[in-house]
């Protein structure tokens, strides 16, 4: 799945890092959903997650919630920008 591949083009400095390593899905997505609305529009949060489902479910959550998925700057790291 391309979403799991490191994507250097998406590399940005995140405004916040959410460490969800060791958590099983859907917990990383729940933590992302809880945290993102607390940040300013345009802010970027980097989710660290080692559950293999995160590579699929974080982009899927962004699509369902109309947030911007920026890509995976490294394995097990997923950048999301608050769009609304």
């Amino acid at each position: 799945m391309s979403t799991a591949d490191p994507d250097p083009a998406s590399s940005v400095d995140p405004d916040e890092v959410l460490d969800c390593r060791g958590q099983r899905c859907p917990l990383p997505v729940i933590h992302l959903a809880r945290r993102l609305p607390a940040l300013a529009v345009g802010a970027v949060v980097r989710v660290l997650a080692d559950d293999p489902a995160a590579a699929n479910d974080i982009p899927a959550w962004c699509r369902m919630r109309d947030q911007e998925y920026l890509g995976a700057p490294a394995p097990g790291a997923y950048d999301v920008r608050r769009r609304s």
């Binding site: 899905c25 859907p26 997505v29 489902a53």
Partner: protein
């Protein structure tokens, strides 16, 4: 069936009278299954299961075409038995869209590339029910001169048998027959070099497989007409009554009996067990329900939510009131699980 149990114990390859009776039963079963599939009896072999048939189909096609090439082109959402066989050599996985439909342009390009030995595209997906555009797939293969394996495990006995394939496989368990019997159908003239002889399938099992396939086909039109609207009811009601749910798969080009959806913020395993306690036996493609902890490769290929996933498969004993009870209880179950996870207002 009773005759098969009385006479089918003998070795059909032996010449004593019990062996000859077993041979007659096996030949009759093969003829009946062939008639149901729409092939000649000599093109059809009973195998020890559908996964075994897929493995043999791919190995036989690849060996038969080794002078043409060594690459297998397959859809990204094939059954794991096909993907395992594909992993034995060079393979091209053709993507699907969000509804699980094969990317036909990409498939045409891939299958026409040099070095392609064979292609494998399922008739319909076992997890999300999406039916593949097999007429276009078969035309692309014919244009490229590449033999096509169609894994019809999900559709045999439920919808009309596809056409245009070189090799077709099926699984008796999936049409309501016995476990441990599959079908491997190889069209006459297809270059096929079987890797090893197929172990004999017990005659009573072969007879049961053929009889159940005929029975399933005989009622398939009526069953499809009954189940198709029930699945439609599940799709629309779940989307309307459960917040933040993604109903998965092609809403139109789909199997009549299968529906899959994913509930945001819900643990798939917890949902499966909660439904089980209320008498609903469902499956899930969520990672927490798999032995490997990986999410379903089908859901990932489609890019749809994989957690909180439930797959509902309706069968001949499923009634309308079963479906209504499921739909009445599901919203409360999902709400309770979200409350337990502290994910109610996200």
């Amino acid at each position: 069936m009773a005759a098969a149990l009385d006479d089918g114990w003998a070795d059909p390859d032996k010449l004593y009278s019990a062996g000859r009776r077993a041979r007659h039963l096996l030949d009759a079963a093969r003829e009946a299954a062939a008639e149901a599939v729409g092939c000649r009896p000599e093109e059809l072999t009973f195998t020890p299961g559908g996964a075994d048939a897929n493995r043999r189909a791919i190995a036989g096609l690849m060996r038969g075409r080794r002078r043409a090439g060594d690459t297998l082109v397959h859809s990204a959402v094939e059954h794991s038995s096909v993907l395992h066989a594909a992993a034995a050599g060079p393979a091209v996985s053709v993507p699907v869209d969000r509804l699980g439909r094969l990317d036909l342009d990409e498939f045409r390009r891939s299958v026409a590339a040099p070095g392609v030995a064979a292609a494998a595209v399922m008739s319909a997906n076992h997890e999300v029910g999406t039916v593949q555009p097999l007429a276009e797939v078969a035309a692309a293969c014919a244009d490229a001169g590449v033999p096509l394996l169609v894994d019809a495990a999900q559709s045999l006995g439920r919808v009309p048998v596809p056409t245009g394939w070189s090799v077709l496989t099926g699984s008796a368990r999936k049409w309501g027959g016995p476990a441990g019997v599959g079908l491997l159908v190889t069209r006459a003239g297809v270059r096929f070099d079987a890797p090893d002889p197929v172990p004999p399938v017990p005659v009573p099992l072969a007879v049961a497989a053929a009889a159940s396939l005929r029975a399933a086909l005989a009622e398939s039109a009526a069953e499809a007409a009954r189940l198709h609207p029930l699945v439609e009811r599940i799709r629309t009601t779940v989307a309307a009554t459960v917040p933040d749910v993604e109903v998965v798969g092609d809403p139109v080009h789909r199997l009549p009996h299968l529906v899959t959806f994913s509930c945001l913020y819900v643990d798939g395993e917890a949902l499966l067990h909660a439904l089980d306690r209320r008498g609903f036996a469902v499956s899930s493609g969520s990672s927490c329900t798999s032995s490997t902890l990986d999410p379903s490769h089908v859901l990932v290929a489609m890019g749809v939510l994989s957690h909180g996933n439930v797959r509902v498969s309706l069968h001949r004993d499923t009634t309308e009131s079963d479906v209504d009870r499921f739909l009445a209880e599901l919203p409360g179950i999902v709400a309770e699980l979200r409350a337990q996870a502290g994910a109610t207002d996200l």
